[in-house]
Symmetry: C2
Subunit: 221 residues, 2 copies
């Protein structure tokens, strides 16, 4: 029996490449998806485009309404403003599973690098703010380009799910595994989220060197 | 043409599981390997055991003599004492390629977690001390159990090599690729070494959950 029992998946920051890519894949897997954006108009527009492109029904609205509508709420917003948005939406997110997908990265002429986060990681910052939500980290290292592939080719990568609540990590592993090619794998406790967020900087370096869209697979599993 | 042109590979801390495993694989690949240990006796003993087990000739001595003998020197010592040892061996390591393989991890009843390192990572600490060496990071995430497999089965994992010197990272990628199954892959600059060291904590969590010897593969490459 599926743990994903008719749950509504909300995606905050759902109009960027990563958010759109995840929305596309979840909608194609038959899940109910609500996109959130800074404005309801932008959310609705991107949702309409995704619905048209995939033959599914994605709805879109502002981040606050999306947070309210979701049973599982993915946070795919830029790092800049992450804490502020979550603080504002705390009432809507109380009692829900919140999946932080944010990578705190800086960029300079030498490429990407991991930023220092006072709480340790974006996921831990979310957990510090959302004290009445169940916060897990996931979807940090999945290429938006591959997710947005209109042919929906399998994404040959694993999604590491980080968290301290077994039911929540099991559920988000199952959510990740709805994407063809992806395995949702338990990746450790929330305190070990930082390096998975930061690993995205390495994948960006690899993409530059090898002209690819790198992901990771866990071996011997 | 091989970049590894008769170079001697020294392994400091070569009598622990990871050091022994790497020594075994490099010796089996036909490379010249010198093990270093805290005492010359221990180094010689482990080297004799490895030579016997593999039908190769591994030599062993103390860390200082091994550092002196090596053209490429791998640092596989415990994190505790890492900086102290490198400071002591700075004269022997000057002008050489030093490969830091150390993972600064803590352990408690919830498992492994990444320690905070003042310089950012073990690799960056090594670079801060060894100002006249070329320091790269590599071999952080390879299972010692798999490396030590007496059947020498291929190790299905990639080794990310981190560094700012292209010749050095190319050389260490080639060194990694001498292990059957392993691909040595450029993983980014030295400033992005922390998360690759810390990733070992996640692999330990995965090993506990799934009863395996997890490694990582880079996909789309």
């Amino acid at each position: 029996m599926s743990l994903l029992n008719g749950e509504t998946i909300a995606i905050l920051g759902g109009t960027g490449p990563q958010g759109r890519g995840l929305a596309r894949r979840f909608a194609q897997a038959g899940l109910t998806v609500v996109l959130g954006s800074r404005t309801a108009e932008k959310g609705a527009q991107t949702a309409a485009e995704l619905s048209e492109a995939t033959g599914t029904t994605v709805t879109g609205t502002d981040n606050q309404s999306a947070a309210e509508a979701g049973d599982i709420v993915l946070v795919v917003v830029p790092w800049d403003g992450h804490g502020e948005l979550l603080s504002k939406l705390k009432p809507e997110l109380d009692g829900k599973i919140v999946v932080d997908c944010v990578n705190p990265l800086g960029f300079d002429k030498q490429g990407a690098y991991a930023l220092t986060v006072e709480e340790g990681s974006a996921t831990e910052q979310a957990a510090a703010i959302l004290t009445d939500s169940t916060v897990v980290g996931a979807f940090h290292n999945v290429s938006a380009v591959l997710l947005e592939d209109p042919e929906a080719a399998p994404v040959e990568t694993d999604v590491l799910v980080l968290g301290d609540d077994r039911l929540a990590t099991d559920l988000i592993q199952e959510l990740a595994s709805t994407i063809p090619g992806v395995r949702g794998i338990y990746g450790g406790r929330r305190r070990n989220a930082h390096q998975i967020e930061a690993l995205t900087a390495n994948l960006i370096s690899i993409n530059r060197r090898y002209k690819t869209h790198a992901g990771t697979r866990i071996t011997d599993l």
